[in-house]
Subunit: 252 residues, 8 copies
């Protein structure tokens, strides 16, 4: 609850400009819009630093369209993750300027005039096959106002490829390390740099990768300190965390 708003309201009550019933109502009236199936949280930017992002999977195209319309009515940017082509088409009906990135399954509408980019964030991958998840992370981070450097296919099977980019890694304010199979990349990176490392396991691999569980466990058990892990294939989640870290550094 924003203390200033409450103070203003209470002062208004004290001045009798607002009745008590109105005050009770306003105190319980929070800044979201109720669309029935969905409740759009317009307050989230103030509270958490970025507008509500829409996880499209499991939602019908028409649900996503309604949510997109509502969000764009109130602000200049819409980010939909795990979007299918059908979701994209639905958003396109209310936003002609929507763009779709099929591999990373993102729908983006960005009408902001100014797009400052602070940073920077390095997004690294163990292999080429991890690049669609890495792009979900990189593009989400860019939309959230971060400068991003991509460093793909630097996994542990050829450690010299990673060491060749040690300087790049050391310049980062936060590194997102994306890897499938044995998932060792974040441990290696965390041993090389002093900044925080965000580990993203991917579902790439043979049978006992268990759809990414193997890489996830590797990352949680990293013997190198300074690693935080997000869900399997969750490029967006990594971007959101990296952006918070990166912006915290800016505002510190």
């Amino acid at each position: 609850m924003d203390p200033d708003t409450v103070r203003a309201l209470l002062e208004s009550v004290a001045r009798k400009e607002t009745t008590i019933d109105e005050a009770i109502d306003r105190l319980s009236h929070l800044p979201f819009t109720d669309l029935g199936d969905a409740k759009i949280d317009h307050h989230r930017e103030l509270r958490c630093g970025f507008p509500e992002v829409v996880f499209c999977e499991g939602k019908s195209p028409s649900q996503v369209r309604s949510i997109a319309r509502e969000i764009l009515d109130k602000g200049g940017v819409f980010l939909g993750t795990r979007a299918s082509a059908a979701h994209y088409q639905a958003v396109g009906q209310v936003a002609l300027d929507a763009r779709y990135f099929e591999d990373s399954r993102l729908v983006i509408v960005d009408r902001r005039e100014e797009r400052p980019a602070v940073g920077h964030i390095v997004v690294a991958t163990g292999g080429t096959a991890d690049s669609s998840v890495a792009e979900e992370a990189a593009m989400s981070a860019e939309v959230m106002g971060n400068r991003v450097t991509r460093l793909y296919d630097v996994g542990v099977a050829g450690i010299h490829r990673l060491l060749a980019y040690e300087a790049t890694l050391r310049e980062a304010r936060v590194v997102i390390a994306v890897a499938g199979m044995e998932g060792a990349l974040p441990s290696l990176v965390a041993g090389l740099v002093a900044c925080p490392v965000i580990a993203v396991p991917t579902s790439i691999g043979y049978g006992a990768s268990l759809g990414g569980i193997a890489a996830l466990l590797t990352m949680l058990n990293s013997c190198a300190a300074g690693v935080g892990v997000v869900n399997i294939d969750n490029g967006f989640g990594a971007a959101a965390l990296a952006s918070r870290i990166n912006h915290a550094a800016v505002t510190a």
Copy 2:
């Protein structure tokens, strides 16, 4: 590899002050001490921002004693995690000023004259039973030079307890949220603040908590963005990550 050292070395070769065999040797001579069973990584502070921390579990007391002696010979601070009383006694033989914190299983020797504390980091717990893990995080973070605020027993069964401290949470540069059982605390916190949230699952709970796996999964699946997860009961890991974030902010 530090480019300046390499440059100096190469300049010395060019000036014939260093022979080629010496240069080859130095290039491969890295700053660790070989104790046989253990190789102390004296370079880690430069590379990663904090001296090597010793995970004691599985090491014999005499192994830990040797490592502690070596570390204290080269620097002013020793941090041992997952330490038993026997580990503490062994360290005490080479450092009379060693302190032991039984609940959080830490052995600390800190001889630094100046101990600056930047920050701050909030360490929150879902329940009282999570406090030993939380203390491992809080004390480790303090040794690493961070200012820490503790906020214990604010779990979701009584959501008003957490909301009452919303202001404290909002002042943090990073929040460590420690919880067992259903592990929902980090999701809630991440919905209330704009800073990064580090989630620490604990092994507290009834049978289907599966020794903390349930809380771990909850945290990985958080519907709130901005959460990074560490291993079960890994208070130290959370502190190391938080410290990197916190110091990154300072040096930004």
Copy 3:
């Protein structure tokens, strides 16, 4: 076994109106119809409060059609869950008034003249993507004679959305809380109300949601008391349990 029926039978034996062999036969003759593959349990309404509900998955359309015909011959209501379009068409051949709800995969035939609705039951969801499971619960509950209030997309990423509806929740006689991902909604609700809470995990989420196992474990480990859990995506099961609780309250 219904004591009155047994008493009547025994009295008939005592009066020699029924032979002993007839009595033995009747005692073992229970009120179900044998269709070969299926044995329709007409007694279930008396025993358990609602007619047999048909789980369609794994049954062939013709099996479901036979069962539906038999049930409708003996009573006024047919409820088929997990029904495909093919199941619906098969039922439609024997019941022109069958209705199909594709998202929630229900087939309903309801010919009862009077449809009393007691209650009420609140069905809440964490996100919009949980709504198909929630509708399976809500519509099943309505067919079973309960009054239902829907409260969708009130998950923990924006806790104020839930708190805004605290009054609605407090009026419920039982709450069904449906959530995927981290599945924290039931814990929160149970901390706010005094009535029983039924938790339904859904299979919505990124990789480590493990098809709903993560949310399931969260709910089983709830630190808030008063929560009972049903199977993943099992909206019907939640409705059946809620209806028993709600009607128990009525008949108390």
Copy 4:
């Protein structure tokens, strides 16, 4: 938030009897006591129908003692679950009338003059070895004001034992069915009665019972409708849910 209290407070502000700063403070001042490690939730009885119950496992005896003293200062009843003998002794130091039930690991202090018991709740077990969990449920339910009937060792290996008590089961307002091994009891009971059934898996069994996971899965997959499941060995959780159902029925 209790609307009446808010209304009174706002009226007081309107009457200038309360300053705005005082009002802000009170609005954020919630009814819990902060003991540092623990925050006692005195409001819980109003909100959820029963005072805060203390899960002792993982808490130190002195933490439990402090919490017990605080709870007993404000009310007449203390219930500690998963308590060791050391926890009991600590509580005994601040409450001479504390009683300890070793098998069910409960510490109870009950100073209420009137102890009404509504109901009733039937607690059934599959085997004799499940009785310690069943007692945790039964005694917790009694402390919460419910009338309880015990029906132990009526598992599926001898189905006639259960059928012999069908009448008892039918009189219950809610049945708690406790079972280890294959955990089939709740399914059977739910097929015999019309009231809600709470299933409690226990950790009793050979290797592939996986510490109760097998029974837990059985119960979640019950083909009989009307079953809600709680955590493994969680007798208290079952009691809390049963009590909510039972009291809901009373107040309906």
Copy 5:
């Protein structure tokens, strides 16, 4: 190794009718046909009581065709399990009298003049949806020379349906109990009869059935003695075991 054959061979060596090299060769020459990818085990009927049965899944149609031709060249019966339509068509090319049972995925060619049937075996299912697995068991058992009685949809949600057939169950020499969901049927049956019970878990159920793992665990943990478990959906395996038991009884 068949002692009589060895004896005859050795006698032939003693009589100098067979050279030593021939004898060495024959001793290592075992009765299978090598088709390259497959080695047909013609000895299996003697050794294990029934000709080799072909698990088709994972084999190409042409591989299955070659194997079928080879088996039918040497004997009068071919049984293919887990067969697709393509497998059936391939077998049809070498055996016009092949029959295909789509639901149970069996291909059968049976040219034996005499088909004695001993027994009997009762195949029971918990629900109608388990019938395709049950048919795999029942038909396989019949091909193997057993008399089979089917008893479908007698699961625990309506226990009286099972009790009504208690006499049928008691007449069996072995019962195959097939069930998905909570899988309690075998436990119940084993408590009612004195003969061995073979439990077959099926993959029918909601999410936490984990593709049949839940039912499998239930059956392994049965509190009733006398139950042996086979793999999930493995109707054939149950039939093979039942047939061994049934024929053992005959030859005893």
Copy 6:
């Protein structure tokens, strides 16, 4: 329900020798003794071929003593499995002739004059370390009236050891194959014999044996037909199943 008893009762009703209320009572009066915590099933021998066997784990010594006294009052044999020394001592207080087998954790009291042994059953183990589970099986089978041959340490690491005993295996009416680690023994045996094979996984092995889960899965997935699996370390369960098979053969 025994038809003869029912017939006699009904005839008595017809003759007016039994009142209707008495008949109702007797029909629901089943032959077990209620000890409160335990309900002894005296009918089990008639129904299932052997008296109730007591699983001691999880029961208190005094509970086991009461049950043993009750069983011995009605019959001549008591078999307790998973018994600790304390359980044995408690049984010893009511049966001086109780014997305890520490490795196999059995308590046996056998006062029958005649102990016929039919058979036979071969109990084979993969290794010496499996012998305590094998003895649980062998001794239980002997108490149940079976002739048993032991064949220990014939696992797959030296296949010739097993082949040397092929004749012994072929004489069995049923083989119990006990194995830990990779658990391949039952598959091998089933490929060599025509009789049913009961597979018992043991918890012997290195880390990834997962307490016997590895061997359990091996056995469930046996490529050889004719194998039924029981729970990990469940020697008794194997004996009960083998005894049913063996006696079925006798009475066939």
Copy 7:
């Protein structure tokens, strides 16, 4: 890092033929080609004995095409595993002589004039259905310069089939044993031979094979010594390990 190259470089620095900046650059310039998404490791043949092999799954056809072109520019052989038809077509655009093996999912371009084959390696399978994985192993091994003998369908259900080929097995320098279902083949082979055995679990089997996890666990728990395990269905991985062993023997 190759010491000779470093020495030459340093000598050049000493002779002033190379500037210091150039030397720094070259020291960090490692022999891979950066294609953006992919970094081709041309050094791998020197380091690890065989050129980089491309795991195609998860890569786009155009990514694979670029990588193939780059690899073939620098050498004479390209091996792509887990390739789809689309991957094959893309490679075919830059290499008309590419061959595709659909069952084993391999794309091979081999332009080497001399293809020496040392060895040999025996590839054995438990069943015919394992042959596609076995072919991935056999063909990969052949491309890597090994002589291969195939020995398919010699699983444990008919142990005599394996024993008949004991001589072939004993001639191998390394055996690759491929098996699904219960996966016992490697244990058996390791008990018969003195050479190393590489175990490859396959995903062939009924439900509780868990997609190959059962066979994997069997192999890890082998009671026979001398077995190393690779990932489920990972024929290539087995070939790579076998080739290293086979060539190590040659160069010893």
Copy 8:
């Protein structure tokens, strides 16, 4: 079966020096000693290259003593793994020269005059805490006649420690890489060397290491080719495999 022995036997039959019954007996008489519980496989050295090694866990001390006596009667070396102090004492009763290594849990009796050591094998560990498992591997390998180099505490948190020993690694004929926690060491090593790498996961780590399962999965999913995995903490298994590889190279 050894062809020479068979040939000699058959020749003897042909010469009538051996009767047919004697020949049958001898053909089935294989070279093991039957101790009842254990069957000592004296043939294993010929077949598999090293005498039978005894896994002590789960065996009683007296069983191990009998086995040791039998083995030492026939040969000069006894190796017992997973031995407790009690096992050691029992062996000591029959072999005064037995030595016990408590950390690695080995009992060794070695009376061979000549102990040739070929090689070499490098045993590397990720951390100091892995050294007891590494010693089980190193000492077992030495007893089996291999030359061993130890390289401990070279894990991925400080990659320069490993790179400093690259030359040592490159000289090995096989590397055993032992690691707990995230288990990345084998992947790194396999990317640096051309020889085979044996990966040994250890059970060292925080909660989500799942007793070594995390490291096990990492190793199975290695993106570097040439890695074979053994069971968790199975140092002996790695040694046995390494020894086979090492000796294969020698005899090639």
